[in-house]
């Protein structure tokens, strides 16, 4: 696990559901074919209404042109991030697009589990309404060791909630690695 994650912020509002993260019509692509899976990155966050995409300004595309990698790799969300369908394609799409961590006020259960058990990205919770403090494009530095987020652009420092119970799974890498390390499976 990387201990320091650096990158630009992409700020979204409350209730970002999995249909906005990866619209249903794109769930048909292979998740294993190395070329085809890039489409998940390309269409990541493509159903977020433009005015809410890249707050506070809005209308900032997460993916530019034909790319599948985003210039933003830390997503800042409000409450209930990842609600809606159980599609694991959602954290996967964000991972393919280069997202390393999401920092939101709260998560929907299935999205949160998927992030952790699949080892796609770090779902951090913030006690502070970061969506009102951080702007899309701000340079961030996330210290996973100390649960500290620095906004390098503004100089602000935030303390995030500890990953708690699920830390052993995150540290192992995913649920399979965790189960192997703890002797549950061969």
């Amino acid at each position: 696990m990387e201990k320091i994650i650096k990158g630009k912020a992409y700020v979204l509002g409350n209730n970002i559901d999995t249909d906005q993260i990866i619209p249903a019509e794109h769930l048909v692509y292979s998740l294993t074919d190395p070329e085809e899976l890039k489409k998940y990155g390309h269409f990541a966050l493509s159903s977020v209404p433009p005015a809410q995409a890249g707050l506070p300004q809005g209308n900032i595309p997460f993916i530019k042109g034909e790319n599948y990698l985003s210039e933003f790799n830390i997503v800042i969300g409000g409450s209930n991030f990842g609600c809606g369908s159980s599609r694991e394609h959602a954290p996967f799409a964000l991972q393919v697009a280069g997202v390393k961590a999401v920092i939101a006020e709260s998560y929907a259960r299935i999205f949160y589990r998927n992030c952790v058990d699949g080892g796609f990205l770090l779902p951090y919770e913030t006690p502070v309404k970061l969506t009102e403090q951080i702007k899309t494009g701000d340079e961030l530095e996330l210290n996973v060791h100390d649960n500290i987020l620095k906004d390098i652009t503004t100089g602000s420092i935030y303390i995030l909630r500890s990953l708690g119970d699920i830390l052993p799974i995150i540290e192992a890498g995913d649920i399979f690695k965790y189960a192997r390390q703890s002797g549950m499976i061969a």
Partner: protein, 431 residues
């Protein structure tokens, strides 16, 4: 120690005497369900992790229903069904319900009930967020992602955090213009889309136990729209009769203790309920039908695991009978069994299917169809600028196909009444 019904079932499944909310426990899974969208990636992860000798922990407990993208020319969607077919034949999975055969069922959550996989007291996981639907049978059921499903596929086990419970008691009998959909929209309006996160929603009271199994499934189906882990209704004689007709698997009926602890208790008098809608773009954006009546529509949709059951069509047909629809109206029965029942069930000697067709509505083949938008050739899909009223469960931006469309969620009665006028209409105007 006193426990809720959810806590009792989770205790049994984890082999403990008691469990407490907040504890992480390992469960023994009774049934794993998957479908064409999440099945193929689940299988891929399972093979990656367990190698070429990967074994299914218990084939009799794995159930696969292709249902999401069925009647489409989209090659990748069809490839996903091919992957399931090949997997089922290679690993001899009996509980596979293939497209294009007599066995094809349609929407997984309804098919699970019809085929006897829902058994009181058991634990069911599925790769679909609406797996909570099965909780209508007094069992624990919830959705997981592909990785968790692959883990279950290989081990039969999964971890879960024991949820706190919220209780919703519905007193009284439902008036003729109120359906379970109105009740659950009210609940969602009250708790909002994250009010139930990591919680169980338990429904009880005379208003619930007087409902048919179909209607109970509407309540538990939308538990996830409140962010809940599961929805649950204790089994009673109605449940037992339904289950016994379909399976001879043993079942166990659990009830919450009278002094069980709840995070919060809500009480409703159903006689005072109003027909409700959820306005765009969230299932908790509650309003009464009266407040939004007259809103111009471009499309009506009666379908999905929420609103495409026989009871939904019986309700809709009552209103549509002998009338003509004013806007394109789509009838998408959740399962092939329901589609057959539409031809058998009658009102004044006319089959429900005929009632809808005579009115000018289009009756489509059973699948998820436009409930989740789907590939571009999906029937009933919302396009830019459309205003849709639907019996489905989600109206997030883009959910039914276009992020430039607006979707109102409502009961089958309200959607039927609206189809006849072309504007949002209170069903009391027709009853």
């Amino acid at each position: 120690m006193s426990m809720t019904i959810t806590e009792k079932i989770l205790s049994k499944s984890s082999g403990r005497k008691t469990v407490q909310p907040g504890e992480n426990i390992w469960l023994n899974v009774d049934v794993l369900m998957t479908h064409d969208v999440c099945g193929p990636p689940t299988i891929a992860i399972w093979k990656r992790e367990f190698g070429k000798d990967a074994k299914i922990w218990d084939k009799s407990k794995l159930v696969i229903f292709p249902d999401h993208y069925i009647f489409t020319k989209n090659p990748q969607a069809n490839r996903n069904v091919d992957i399931l077919r090949q997997f089922a034949s290679e690993y001899k999975v009996d509980n596979y319900y293939d497209v294009g055969t007599e066995r094809y069922k349609g929407v997984c959550h309804i098919a699970l009930a019809e085929e006897g996989y829902n058994v009181p007291g058991t634990v069911l996981f599925g790769t679909d967020s609406h797996t909570c639907t099965s909780g209508a049978f007094g069992m624990f059921s919830t959705g997981v992602g592909n990785t968790d499903a692959a883990f279950i596929l290989g081990t039969g086990k999964i971890w879960e955090k024991v949820p706190e419970s919220l209780k919703f008691t519905f007193d009284g009998q439902l008036p003729a213009y109120i359906t379970a959909k109105d009740l659950i929209l009210q609940v969602l309006g009250d708790i909002t889309t994250d009010g139930g996160t990591y919680c169980a929603l338990e429904f009880d009271g005379e208003g619930v136990f007087s409902l048919s199994i179909d209607e109970r499934m509407t309540l538990t189906n939308m538990a996830i729209e409140g962010g809940a882990m599961n929805g649950i209704i204790a089994a009673d004689s109605v449940t037992e009769a339904y289950v016994k007709e379909r399976t001879n698997k043993p079942y166990e009926i659990f009830h919450s203790d009278a002094d069980a602890k709840y995070k919060k208790i809500f009480r409703y008098d159903v006689a005072k309920m109003e027909p409700h809608v959820a306005k765009p773009h969230s299932p908790d954006n509650l309003d009464t039908v009266r407040n939004v009546q007259g809103t111009k529509l471009t499309k009506c949709y009666i379908g999905s695991c929420t609103g495409g059951k026989l009871s939904d069509y019986q309700a809709a047909a009552k209103i549509i009978f002998g009338n003509k629809v004013k806007v394109p109206t789509f009838i998408v029965p959740a399962s092939t069994q329901i589609a057959k029942q539409l031809e058998v069930e009658t009102i004044s000697g006319v089959s429900l299917r005929q009632i809808f067709e005579n009115a000018g509505a289009e009756v489509a083949q059973s699948s998820c169809a436009a409930c989740l938008g789907g590939p571009s050739d999906t029937i009933g899909r919302a396009t830019d600028g459309e205003v849709v009223i639907s019996t489905t469960n989600r109206n997030f931006p883009g959910r039914m196909g276009s992020k430039k469309s607006a979707v109102y969620l409502a009961s089958p009665l309200t959607v039927a009444a609206s189809s006849l006028t072309g504007v949002i209409t209170d069903p009391r105007d027709f009853l």
